[in-house]
């Protein structure tokens, strides 16, 4: 098999990034590392949202898959007694992918506001189900997710957060590389062409519905993984994961970071969650207002996201 030199380069980049983050994990204090665990896990959902935006599809209901992934982990533990994190994450990805396969053909027929609204509707349906069937789901109080083993290794309570950081980092690395490879693949380019001109794409002999469906499933799998990682790290799942504000946060982090590179949404998420955390710590009474003002300023000054800063910088130096 011939290895694409582009992919080799991407792999190298991802390995380098993961290695740096792994070293960072040794140096960071407990809660900052936890914050980074949550942010990196969540960034996979944001990558999913950005991936759809790249194909011209704005999802306002990505929380659906995040909740499915998280509850899959909770139920996998409770009903089937699975206590291996990797297996639980596999269940999370499988559940969200299956759901995407089931509802994708319907949702992917819509565009623009209609796509946003119907994706929102599906996530709110799940939210209502989780809320209403409270004897099976724990209702709004949610369900506990106890400590899982990682590759059979049972970490002590004190070390668990560290183990989950490296687990999240490993999943993050795999997902980031898969996204980068997808973006550079013919399918990735075709998805981008869907946004530019669907009719022309059909004339070229490609199938618009197939490309959007593929993007939708890929995004769902990433988001399901993100939800599973969140459930493990936080140790609790609740229906708010499927609530529209959560999907709105994903969308916002994607806009904040930008959609041109797979790493851009990651930057967006880490910045968004760090701001969230620090502002609420230092300005407990007005943190939401401060967060809103900063976000507004960033979006107004950098409509293409934070990543456009780097692009501008690298373009100047390449010239």
């Amino acid at each position: 098999m011939k290895i694409d030199p582009g992919n080799l380069r991407r792999l190298l980049g991802v390995v380098l990034l993961v290695a740096v983050l792994a070293l960072l994990g040794l140096w960071l204090a407990g809660w900052t590392r936890f914050l980074l665990t949550v942010a990196l896990g969540e960034s996979l959902a944001v990558i999913g949202v950005a991936l759809l935006m790249r194909a011209g599809l704005v999802s306002f209901g990505q929380g659906l898959f995040s909740a499915v992934g998280a509850y899959a982990v909770a139920y996998g533990m409770r009903l089937w007694g699975i206590h291996e994190a990797l297996l639980l994450l596999a269940v999370a990805v499988a559940a969200s992918t299956l759901l995407a396969v089931a509802i994708g053909p319907l949702i992917c027929r819509y565009r623009q506001i209609f796509f946003a609204m119907i994706s929102l509707a599906f996530s709110m349906v799940l939210y209502s189900i989780l809320l209403k069937f409270n004897t099976a789901t724990g209702g709004s109080d949610g369900m506990e997710v106890t400590a899982a083993t990682v590759l059979g290794y049972h970490a002590a309570a004190k070390a668990l957060a560290g183990v989950y950081y490296y687990l999240t980092l490993a999943c993050f690395g795999v997902a980031l590389f898969a996204t980068a490879a997808y973006y550079a693949s013919p399918a990735g380019y075709l998805a981008r062409a869907v946004r530019d001109n669907e009719i022309r794409l059909e004339y070229l002999g490609a199938s618009v519905s197939r490309e959007t469906f593929r993007a939708y499933i890929f995004a769902a799998a990433l988001t399901g993984l993100s939800g599973g990682l969140f459930a493990l790290a936080v140790g609790h799942v609740s229906p708010t994961l499927a609530y529209w504000t959560k999907s709105g946060e994903f969308l916002f982090a994607a806009l904040l970071g930008g959609t041109s590179s797979p790493i851009a949404p990651v930057v967006g998420t880490v910045v968004f969650e760090s701001l969230n955390s620090y502002l609420s710590a230092y300005l407990p009474n007005v943190w939401q207002m401060a967060l809103g003002a900063i976000m507004l300023a960033i979006i107004l000054l950098m409509p293409r996201g934070l990543w456009s800063l780097y692009e501008r910088f690298s373009a100047r130096h390449a010239a």
Binding site: W31, L35, K132, G138, E144, L160, V270, S274, A281, P284
Partner: protein, 443 residues
């Protein structure tokens, strides 16, 4: 070609470095928490809603309660048995945090826990349930002060977690007992509760307690509007049509006020006896309190506010609070007082037991377990959950409007053993099994 290759490689490295720089710029490691042995002062994280719908009825009264108490504790101006300055001479400093803080309650909790000695907080049951395991991991003594779900110590046991207030099941058992003895010809009962755990659990406990007291009572037309729905006209119409003897509601905040404003003109409060289990904060809302009609059964989630027993601590607390904030303390302020005073009592007991001004967390935990301590709401005992969960007496009264002022009359007090399940029995089962062991219930 070589140049291009170099360029792309450089871009990859730049990307990695940019991301790391971004991460490390924002994620500066904090200094480790002050060593346990010689603190100049004790930092106490206080977590309540400072934003959102639960801030005004619960979060702010609780926060204010903590502020006035800790300030007075440092001055040593509390009545006995809390006249010692600080926590046994050690100054206490509050660190306030919004319960709605981002990115998620656990990240926010861990951040707070890293910089304080103790945490007191949490109004939302969902937050309590998720924070408790995190407290164990962080090994940080955490006092849950207001959330109502019995699941915390019924489904699990914790070493570092305490709850100084009774569960919501107690409120609803007492409410059922109150209406059952007050309205002897009770035939039909209905309810309007918010469609989330608090409302669902409250209704389940209340309706099954009524059934347990008298299986002939008909339960009918229970309504579950969405939380913060704002408009309840269709539910009010259904309840008016069903015309039950008693309507139970655990509505709080804007929802409770909305029900009052929309239901009273339609005769909801005059045709049926309405029970508001968490209705007491309405009495402290200017402009809304005057809308409260006579004859509403009102609870305060325990003997708090106008239902508090007469004692020196309550006299001091309500006066100090009213002087400072120009309003009476509501029940969340009392719940906060229970948490703060419980922690102070435990800390001072641990000091005495360890002959040290600065006991370790383990010593404070040992002192807190099964502790009985005085509060403005009477004596609180940590009797359940292996000594980590408080039992509380309950009290209900009926509103009476005179000269535009609302008072509570026909107040009945339910001693601890009448409304709290004994250790080892879940509240749900205790209700279903007709309250085995319940005694001293008022007629």
């Amino acid at each position: 070609m070589e140049r291009q290759c170099f360029m792309t490689f450089r871009r990859v490295i730049m990307a990695a470095l940019a991301a790391t720089a971004m991460a490390s710029a924002t994620l500066v490691p904090s200094s480790p928490a002050a060593a346990q042995t010689q603190p100049q002062e004790l930092k106490i994280g206080i977590v309540t809603f400072l934003s959102g719908a639960a801030a005004s009825p619960f979060g702010i009264p609780a926060r204010n309660g903590a502020e006035i108490l800790l300030e007075s504790i440092n001055k040593g101006s509390l009545p006995a048995p809390y006249e010692k300055k600080g926590f046994g001479g050690v100054k206490v400093v509050p660190v306030f945090m919004d319960e709605a803080s981002g990115p998620d309650p656990i990240s926010a909790y861990r951040r707070l826990a890293s910089s304080v000695d103790f945490v007191i907080g949490y109004i939302s049951s969902e937050h309590c349930l998720s924070v408790a395991p995190a407290a164990e991991e962080e090994q940080k003594l955490t006092v849950l002060f207001d959330c109502g779900t019995p699941r915390i110590f019924e489904d699990n046991s914790y070493r570092y977690v305490f709850r100084t207030t009774a569960t919501a099941a107690v409120d609803n058992i007492a409410a059922a007992r109150y209406v059952y003895s007050r309205y002897p010809n009770l035939k039909t009962v209905s309810g309007i509760n918010q469609n989330y755990a608090w409302g669902q659990d409250s209704w389940k406990d209340f309706s099954s307690a009524i059934k347990s007291l008298d299986s002939k009572v008909k339960i009918d037309a229970a309504q579950f509007p969405a939380i913060f729905a704002g408009s309840y006209s269709s539910q009010i119409s259904t309840l008016l049509a069903a015309d039950p003897d008693v309507i139970h509601s655990s509505f709080w905040g804007g929802d409770a006020e909305g029900l009052l404003i929309q239901g009273a003109p339609l005769g909801l409060f005059s045709r049926s006896h309405v029970v508001l289990t968490a209705g007491e904060p309405i009495l402290h809302r200017q402009g809304i309190a005057s809308l409260m009609p006579s004859g509403v059964v009102l609870g305060a989630r325990g003997p708090h506010g106008p239902l508090a027993p007469e004692n020196k601590l309550d006299a001091w607390f309500s006066k100090a609070y009213a002087d400072r904030y120009n309003t009476e303390p509501a029940y969340p302020s009392y719940h906060m007082a229970q948490a703060v005073l419980g922690l102070k009592a435990a800390y001072e007991k641990a000091q005495a037991a360890s002959h040290s001004e600065h006991p370790t967390t383990a010593q404070v935990i040992a002192a807190f377990t099964h502790l009985s301590f005085e509060t403005p709401s009477g004596t609180i005992t940590m009797a359940l959950g292996k000594g980590h969960q408080a039992v509380e007496p309950a009290a209900y009264g009926v509103t009476k409007v005179e000269n535009g002022k609302v008072t509570l009359t026909d107040v009945k007090r339910y001693p601890v053993e009448c409304v709290n399940p004994p250790e080892g029995i879940k509240a749900e089962d205790w209700i279903a099994r007709h309250f085995p062991g319940a005694k001293n219930c008022p007629k």
